[in-house]
Symmetry: C3
Subunit: 346 residues, 3 copies
């Protein structure tokens, strides 16, 4: 039985303005070119304008300026992608997470599971831990001692929260994420490494999302801190004592080294590396696969790296990198020599 809404209901939930048949029944979402009757789509990227006029969608979310190009009922808004996000969430299947603590979960007698919280099969929860109201601990998650999982927060499956980690409300942690593992702290004793105990923890604010197999290390002395609204994609590494500001979004495979502070409203694209002990200002945007080696005090876009090209082109040119300094000096010498020659001629 599909989920169904009237278009008027979707206008309401998305905050967009209805133009057309509010009673029209919508049972799903689709792209402009694939949509058919009963489906809603959106138009946000001019690249797809050719699909707009011929769409068979029953309704389309778009900007008022584009309304004339579209044959269907409309939801009008200045931020179509935001309205789209809200509509997609209407159609997300309900989780059916069961209720209470599953018989095959292992919860310490000194843990507290608050009302409406669900603990799935195979989860293991340590002493002193609090699972707040309506939180969800998915199958095979492991939660240590003295952890706080905030109200409504969800650990989807096989997530590990180590001792003392604290999550705010409405966090969403994807499978395989590890939060609160030891930071990489080592002291050298004549070649041999000795461990520096990692005595801080990890604190996540409210509404933080952590991707699959992402790791966030506990701090050495103080805590690693991820502020409200931060969104982390898959396979990100956050080292000890990093701080990430409100609403910063970081794409997959990025690594942040220890004690670095990232401002709020930043975006780091995929595969970025950030060295330790530096600061990125609010509103810094780092392009994919770039390596940030010093503090970035000004907002703006930063990029590094040499992108892929046909191998022979790369091979011929990249060897010259090691001659760059010499080339620059020879250029300077030539300029001077030419100046001299000209002088003589005049």
């Amino acid at each position: 039985m599909p989920i169904t809404f009237t278009l008027a209901e979707l206008a309401e939930c998305s905050g967009a303005e209805l133009q057309g048949d509010g009673n029209c029944l919508i049972h799903g979402v689709e792209t402009l070119d694939h949509a058919g009757e009963g489906q809603i789509s959106f138009f946000n990227n001019t690249k797809y304008r050719r699909f707009l006029r011929d769409t068979r969608a029953s309704a389309v979310i778009l900007r008022p300026a584009d309304a004339k190009d579209c044959p269907s009922s409309l939801l009008l808004t200045d931020n179509p992608y935001l309205a789209w996000a809200r509509v997609t969430r209407c159609f997300a299947p309900s989780p059916e997470k069961g209720s209470g603590v599953h018989a095959a979960a292992v919860v310490d007698a000194d843990a507290r599971i608050e009302s409406g919280a669900v603990v799935a099969a195979g989860a293991v929860i340590g002493a002193g831990t609090v699972i707040e109201a309506n939180a969800y601990v998915g199958p095979n998650c492991v939660i240590g001692r003295n952890v706080v999982l905030g109200e409504g927060s969800q650990l989807l499956a096989s997530v590990v929260l180590m001792d003392g980690v604290r999550l705010g409300k409405d966090c969403l942690i994807h499978p395989g994420a590890v939060i609160g593992s030891d930071g990489f702290g080592l002291a050298n004793d004549q070649g041999r490494w000795e461990k520096v105990a990692q005595l801080g923890s990890v604190v996540l604010g409210d509404d933080v999302e952590v991707g699959a197999n992402t790791t966030i290390d506990r701090g050495a002395i103080h805590d690693t801190v991820i502020h409200d609204g931060v969104k982390l994609d898959n396979q990100i590494q956050v080292a000890h004592n990093v701080e990430i500001g409100n609403n910063t979004a970081i794409a997959a495979c990025t690594g942040i080294s220890g004690s670095t502070r990232i401002g709020s409203g930043c975006t780091l694209a995929g595969g970025v590396g950030v060295v330790g002990h530096i600061e990125l200002a609010d509103g810094v945007h780092v392009s994919g696969a770039s390596v940030v080696s010093r503090s970035l005090r000004e907002p703006g876009v930063y990029t590094g790296g040499v992108l892929a090209m046909p191998h022979k082109v790369w091979q011929k040119n990249i060897a010259r990198i090691k001659q760059l300094d010499s080339m620059a000096r020879r250029l300077k010498t030539l300029e001077k020599a030419l100046e001299q020659l000209r002088g003589k001629q005049e």
Copy 2:
């Protein structure tokens, strides 16, 4: 008790031509330089020719042209590494996976476990899911609802398959892999991020291998699709709505951004990054640690990056990168000035 075959049996299983004693008993595989009696080896790389003449292996797999250099019994073939692959599989220990559903697994009453399938201890399987004949769900795996695990496919341990994911036949998924986690879809509302529900799923064809701790996200509207025979190494990230063509092989630590289509018969070496919304043609090969930022329409080898060199050499030269444009302009100016000077002299 070691596994033992006659050399004739190994000729048969590998498709190579026997030359020598078919009754010779082989109980294991070894490299040319370490092999002794009862062991089989192979010669595929001319770099190791010095080991060939003196090998003490009872049998060697090689090309007919190399037969004269080898004292042992032989398996002759034009593709020694392929024959070797088949021989190694003969010696792989049988898995002994038990049978049926382990008492310490938690299988929803509405899941179906077909004949010959095995579900190990600690596995958790949701409603509506089908584990097809002879499939294997290893210890502590988590499988959501409405998943299909195809005939003979294996999840080795601690694998997570989220709701609605479908795997074909004979797939092999290594520990810690997560398939079907949410794609990283976010809409911005005046600085705050709102989630775009990820309503597609992930579909794997037949004979797909997925490495340890690799993550494959579910699609936003349509599915993420991995076609037959694709081989993914460890710690790869495949974002939402990516499509990977038949028999493409991707080495570890590579990340593919959203909606990118990779052709068939491609190879991506380790640590590669591919941006979103582009296409790689069939037969594209990307060198290790390269970043692909635009569609590659022609087959061939593509490379990027500046490889490691002694730090002082790097330091002296790399700073000049920021002068490259100015250097190029100054070079042009010099060429013109010189031309002028020459003109005057004539």
Copy 3:
């Protein structure tokens, strides 16, 4: 109830020389600027000298030469960070891991759990495996058959050790690590890939640390070998048949390709990539995000890559990389032409 030591006890455990009140009670560690009464701090980095004179710490670990600048009791040593490491470990909370085999663990009848070893809830252990004295198998770990977990070694949570893996004494394996997954060995048969069975295993020496979600593949024929005292951070990928020498430390997100040998006493910073079949000498240090493509026979520091810069600066200059060879040739041509002109003038 906080852990408390006298300063004399901390001098003893850290190997540093006491100067001041040995009876002073210390209940925790802090940074110089945040420390108060009952807390110990350390001074190792001249950058923080301004905090030294005004610290309110009850004791500070520092070099004798810095003693005059500090108002508190002191622990004097030539290696303050090492003494600090030892002091932090005094304050690390005791693990309280329970005892024996938890009722919710699944241990094969043919596995051997030695005295003092602990197996937590949800762990699954296969036949022929030995968990040596005082070792710890954390919640939801999966251990295959014929594994050896050495005396005092710890698998913190959700760790997977595949068949035949052997760990030495006092190893520490963080959550989500996978050791002994198949190496990425494939033979091509006219486009289609066939698997090369990975018949080796993984051997870890004593005192090895493996970070969260790190993966170490089993060897193809011989073993992958990680020697004593090696420290691996999170999300590292170690491919089949790699060998890593004593006391080498590798930071997060680094990938080492197959059959590469890394010497002892090396450090690889975060995000490094190392190609296969090469050797790094003892004492090689690789800077963050560098890609090593050939053997490094000499100790020293190696670096590669083009670091992030403002996007417009990057955009203007990086396109010139493809002109580098032509620029170098044109420079040469100019030099010759100028030489000629000069000759004519003389």
